[in-house]
């Protein structure tokens, strides 16, 4: 290893308290680094922070920075494993919904930075013959994320973002659609079969198969679910699957 690499490894270890070499000024770097990583998590996980309080959050962020080091020069990418970290964090056991709230917040974070897409081409969709409707593969907007939990995480997020009571009396489960509208992230609650239908589309299922996931016998309700997804921009494009043999 080059002496530059060795020097940098020693310095990095000292930054995270792992190694010995220290000296005047190292404390400044330790503080800067810890505060940059902490602030990045605060920006992405405001609800988790409000639920646990700042001193709990700060300690969790410090431990997370050691267990899941930042892997990118772009801090936007930092914090992807925070939900998994919280799920196995012994101090968070009293809050069984905490990891799922974090999962929802990461989904919102990804949604905000995901690619843009044009609107659904209705004219082209109208030209698809009725016999091929089952072969249509609706594609979700690249910013859409689907999250579900046995806990009422959507209500918990909404209550905490509006400064309301941190404890929510509603029961789960929650089936949520995270989407971007007018440059802002919106979290909508849907019922379980509508969520299953959208999840099938997200997996690339053709309409016929996704309908089965919904429960195809209820045609009117399915049409309603499809219309909502199209109107809200959750569905942004479509393609035709290969014709069945």
């Amino acid at each position: 290893m080059s002496s530059l690499a060795t020097l940098q490894r020693d310095f990095m270890d000292a930054l995270f308290d792992i190694g010995q070499p220290s000296g005047p000024g190292m404390a400044v770097y330790r503080r800067n680094v810890q505060s940059n990583l902490h602030d990045a998590l605060v920006a992405t996980y405001p609800v988790v922070r409000r639920l646990v309080g700042e001193s709990f959050f700060r300690e969790a962020a410090r431990r997370y920075s050691r267990e899941s080091p930042s892997r990118s020069g772009d801090l936007t990418e930092y914090g992807a494993q925070f939900a998994a970290f919280l799920a196995s964090y012994p101090h968070a056991r009293a809050l069984p919904y905490l990891a799922d709230v974090a999962r929802l917040e990461w989904a919102c974070h990804e949604c905000l930075h995901a690619a843009d897409a044009g609107a659904l081409d209705f004219a082209a969709l109208g030209r698809v013959g009725a016999k091929r409707h089952g072969d249509i593969r609706f594609q979700l907007h690249p910013a859409v994320r689907l999250v579900r939990s046995p806990h009422p995480i959507g209500a918990i997020r909404a209550a905490n973002l509006s400064g309301g009571d941190a404890s929510v009396s509603e029961a789960g489960p929650d089936h949520l659609v995270v989407a971007r509208s007018g440059g802002e992230v919106r979290v909508a609650s849907v019922d379980a079969r509508e969520w299953d239908f959208l999840a099938a589309l997200a997996r690339g299922a053709a309409f016929e198969e996704a309908s089965a996931a919904y429960g195809a016998e209820d045609g009117a309700a399915l049409t309603g679910a499809l219309a909502r997804a199209v109107e809200s921009g959750v569905i942004a494009a479509f393609a035709l699957a290969e014709a069945r043999a």
Partner: protein, 286 residues
């Protein structure tokens, strides 16, 4: 109209920060350019990029990277460079800059601007990395001197020789952060004016100005206050010795109202306008 091409030598800009977006759109202040942190716009889409393109319609932009880790002994991060390249092609900024530092090793990132040892080995390494970056982006970049709170015993040359040599050998420009020179002069005990004398005027493409704080007997480059009087004096000396160059006022922590930044920018403008070398020529900086 989308401003094109190079900046005038007497352009003064401010750092583009999200809390000021609304005020900038409303007031439309006259500014030479806006400088954005490149990584804040690395996303594939969404509102951040939409805002940047909106400002690009009215202002010249400078892209200032904080995460490339130019001085790291790790291989250059091709994914990061690819995102920077795509952003540069999309925005067509007047200036692209990075820092003469390292931020990562063993694929672990500190997401901070860490100091390099000023050795022959580090110099050879960073010159090759600047070369590779300029090659990848197909353009010259500016490289900024960083503030530091730690000095390595193994360093063999002073900081000013290191950055001057890096610019000379790689052909990159120097983004001279006047506040960082002041901070390092105080922290490491050297003459900040001697630093200015060591820098080839032809290499300097931009100045940075910002505020610092004092903590633990150390000056810390926090970008959280007004530019200090000593830094204004050093800046005026730099403009005299080196010449007028596009100048940026940066503010990151405890962001004040936009008007406070515009006031600092006006001070910089008056120093640029009053200097003899500034008046001698108004050629543009590529």
């Amino acid at each position: 109209m989308r401003p094109a091409g190079a900046l005038d030598r007497r352009s003064v800009g401010i750092g583009l920060r999200a809390p000021h977006y609304g005020a900038l759109v409303e007031q439309q202040p006259k500014l030479g350019f806006l400088e954005a942190h490149s990584e804040n716009f690395f996303g594939a889409g969404g509102p951040a990029l939409a805002w940047l393109e909106r400002f690009r319609a009215d202002y010249a932009l400078s892209l200032h990277g904080v995460g490339l880790s130019l001085g790291s002994a790790d291989p250059l991060d091709e994914r990061h460079l690819g995102k920077l390249d795509a952003l540069v092609k999309r925005i067509e900024p007047a200036l692209v800059s990075e820092h003469l530092c390292w931020s990562s090793i063993g694929e672990r990132h500190a997401n901070d601007l860490l100091p390099l040892p000023f050795t022959r080995e580090a110099l050879d390494h960073v010159v090759a990395r600047i070369d590779a970056t300029q090659e990848r982006l197909g353009r010259r970049i500016l490289v900024e001197n960083v503030s530091s709170y730690f000095a390595f015993d193994v360093s063999t040359v002073p900081e000013w020789e290191f950055i001057a040599e890096a610019a000379k050998r790689s052909g990159c420009g120097v983004l001279l952060d006047v506040n960082n020179i002041h901070v390092n002069a105080a922290n490491h005990g050297f003459d900040p004016y001697a630093y200015l004398d060591a820098i080839d005027p032809a290499s300097v493409g931009e100045y940075h100005l910002a505020g610092f704080e004092v903590a633990d007997g150390c000056l810390i480059d926090t970008h959280g206050s007004r530019v200090d009087d000593a830094v204004w004096s050093l800046y005026a000396a730099a403009v005299e010795r080196i010449g007028a160059r596009p100048t940026l006022v940066e503010w990151d922590c405890d962001l004040p109202a936009l008007d406070v930044l515009l006031g600092e920018a006006a001070t910089a403008r008056s120093i640029l306008a009053g200097s003899s070398r500034a008046n001698a020529g108004a050629e543009a900086i590529a």
